[in-house]
């Protein structure tokens, strides 16, 4: 069992956790402001595609990274507009965005690169494997500081807990929620960008393969708090790293391989268990998912 615990595994855990950390922190800002964000997946896909396409076009991964963040923010703006201004159901809107983003990048790739849904290969020297990891690590304490130590964070949390009271105290509820959702788009877009121009070297169809949902699970497992969310992301990244590395290495006493699927199931089962309140209670922000209508 222990022979697989080595430097390579730790390194792989960090690399696999990075997109989760970025997206989960994104989800944190959105959900703390009271807007459910199951569109993280779609925002990551947008970021991954834009980053790969722009890096390929310009040759600069920094411009690509920026484009990824902008694309995530653009998708977030659609989510925010529908949920905040038009009071649409937040889960339904999120689902719509996820379906839309399953098609849109592939559609655009097909149009611009005449491919079947992926961007061309980006040369190795134009990739950016380190910076996003660094940003992810820095963003955790920074998010904590912003949420708990600044007036902005206090207002953001207050509109997610009790928008009526916040409104009475003069906090602009809608504006704070826009800020929360847009921030989540930027961070999720960055997480997606890391997938396409950090970890690999092109965008492929549906390349996030559910990481947006795992990030959401990590956010819940981390009880909507930055440092706990980091730990949850590391745990989920670790299970992914193990499931990649251990194939054929770890044997049961009977001599059979441990099926990789059992390791893959760990994050999902943990999230269900935590949400049911078996391991301490995980309480969402009180006004999560409820549109706020100012009384006239």
């Amino acid at each position: 069992m222990w022979e697989i615990l080595n430097v390579a595994l730790i390194w792989s855990t960090i690399r696999l956790s990075t997109p989760l950390i970025l997206a989960a922190l994104g989800g944190l800002f959105s959900e703390r402001s009271g807007v459910i964000n199951i569109a993280l997946e779609g925002m990551m896909l947008a970021g991954a595609f834009a980053a790969a396409a722009i890096t390929y076009a310009t040759g600069s991964p920094y411009v690509g990274l920026l484009a990824g963040m902008m694309a995530g923010m653009l998708i977030a703006a659609i989510h925010a507009l529908a949920c905040i201004r038009y009071q649409a159901d937040q889960v339904v809107t999120g689902t719509a965005i996820n379906i839309l983003m399953l098609g849109m990048p592939a559609f655009l790739s097909g149009a611009f690169f005449l491919s079947s849904g992926s961007t061309p290969q980006i040369p190795k020297e134009h990739l950016i494997p380190w910076l996003p990891i660094f940003i992810a690590i820095v963003m955790v304490p920074l998010s904590w500081y912003v949420l708990y130590k600044t007036p902005f964070g206090l207002r953001l949390r207050s509109v997610g807990e009790n928008p009526e009271a916040a409104d009475a105290a003069g906090v602009p509820v809608a504006r704070m929620r826009y800020a929360g959702v847009l921030l989540s788009g930027i961070l999720a877009g960055l997480g997606g960008a890391y997938l396409s121009i950090g970890q690999s070297s092109l965008f492929t169809r549906n390349m996030t393969s559910g990481r947006g949902f795992i990030a959401l699970a990590a956010l819940i497992f981390g009880k909507w708090r930055p440092f706990q969310t980091l730990l949850a992301c590391l745990l989920f990244g670790f299970t992914e790293a193990v499931s990649i590395q251990m194939q054929g290495v770890v044997k049961l006493p009977s001599g059979d391989d441990i099926p990789v699927q059992f390791i893959q199931m760990v994050p999902y089962i943990l999230t269900i268990v935590v949400l049911a309140g078996f391991i301490g209670s995980s309480r969402p922000p009180r006004a999560l998912g409820i549109p706020y209508q100012k009384e006239r």
């Binding site: 339904v92 839309l100 098609g103 097909g110 959401l216 699927q261 049911a276």
Partner: protein, 354 residues
């Protein structure tokens, strides 16, 4: 007037989505009219186009009904995807294990397996919500992934057909259900449209009767419209949540009948083309009514079938346009307030319930 209002918003949403995507097609340098002509022309051609369109509509009617029943109880079931996978596997398992029994026993047994498999997987988030208050949306997402991993394990380690493809052994021929080509003159038998389509239409009728003509349906809908009033009126909200999620899962599970007994005759890993998620779109666009579900399932099936020639016969547009269209339609349906503003000015529309 009420009917007009019910029809108007979905119609506007669909038209708006086609316009937006038309502009998108124009930007990337293709002709939108030509693209849409290809899309509808092929999907509505007799017999192959229509046969496939109805075949694609079958799972969408089931998942649309599933989402609708949960929605009527105030729940959002985005776990239809996982429920239909579990159900399809259960169906295949019965079809493999009891392969030698007579069709009269085996086919009903397989259908029961589909309904029970989906129902159980749907009941889990229902129970979790009723017992612990944990949100069904997150739990259904997790259960989707859990189902995929679990079934991939069973397929790979226990029931796999030797070869590179991740699929189970074939079910016994006694478990096959008839393709409609056998009964409809002029429809070739290679089209996988099968008896499950008829079953889907019957299910629509049954769901209508259940929801609007029985006491149980009334209790379920009351829970959806106002849970506290329902509780005050002596309805156990917790019980209704579990019932609604179980029925919802069972309906989603019936996709397994279409897939396993009528089409592939085995469980194929990852067969679902987002049926569960498209079901949300179907239910919403169909105003959470059985007739609406059939109509919007047909529309989405047309898109799915029509995407194939669009992919082949246009320069730039790929079949991904279908998902772009689907996403845009749901977005517009969800944010119907976007259209309500302009229309309210004409005094035509007041707020309508979902």
């Amino acid at each position: 007037m009420k009917l007009l209002r019910e029809l108007l918003f979905p119609l506007i949403a669909v038209v708006a989505a086609f316009v937006v995507c038309g502009i998108l097609i124009l930007i990337i340098g293709d002709n939108p009219i030509e693209t849409y002509r290809l899309l509808f022309g092929s999907a509505l051609s007799w017999p192959v186009g229509i046969g496939y369109t109805l075949f694609y509509a079958t799972p969408l009617i089931f998942t649309g009904l599933a989402v609708m029943v949960a929605f009527r109880c105030g729940l959002l079931n985005i776990g239809a995807e996982g429920q239909l996978y579990v159900a399809a596997f259960a169906t295949a398992w019965v079809g493999i294990t009891f392969a030698n029994h007579s069709p009269w026993l085996l086919i009903p047994l397989c259908c029961i397996a589909a309904v029970v498999g989906g129902g159980v997987w749907g009941a889990i988030p229902g129970i979790l919500k009723a017992r612990f208050g944990s949100h069904e949306v997150i739990n259904t997402i997790m259960l989707n992934f859990l189902a995929v991993a679990l079934l991939s394990y069973f397929t790979q380690y226990h029931y796999k057909e030797p070869g590179p493809i991740m699929q189970t052994l074939a079910i016994g021929p006694n478990a096959h259900i008839a393709r409609l080509g056998r009964f409809i003159p002029g429809m070739p038998q290679f089209i996988p449209l099968n008896v499950a389509f008829i079953l889907a239409l019957i299910s629509c009728g049954l769901v209508y009767v259940f929801l609007w003509r029985t006491k149980w349906g009334y209790e379920l809908r009351s829970t959806g419209t106002n849970p506290s009033a329902a509780e005050y009126g002596g309805i156990s909200v917790r019980k209704q949540i579990i019932i609604a999620m179980t029925i919802s899962g069972a309906l989603a599970g019936m996709v397994g009948i279409n897939e396993v007994l009528g089409y592939r005759y085995r469980y194929y890993d990852g067969f679902s083309d987002n049926y569960g998620f498209t079901g949300i779109a179907v239910a919403l666009l169909g105003r959470n009514h059985p007739v609406g579900v059939i109509t919007s399932a047909l529309l989405f099936a047309v898109l799915q079938r029509g995407g194939i020639p669009v992919d082949a016969f246009t320069t730039h547009v790929t079949k991904d346009i279908v998902q772009v269209l689907q996403g845009t339609i749901i977005l517009f349906v969800a944010a119907e307030a976007f259209f309500r503003g302009p229309f309210a000015q004409w005094g035509l529309l007041k707020r309508s319930k979902v």
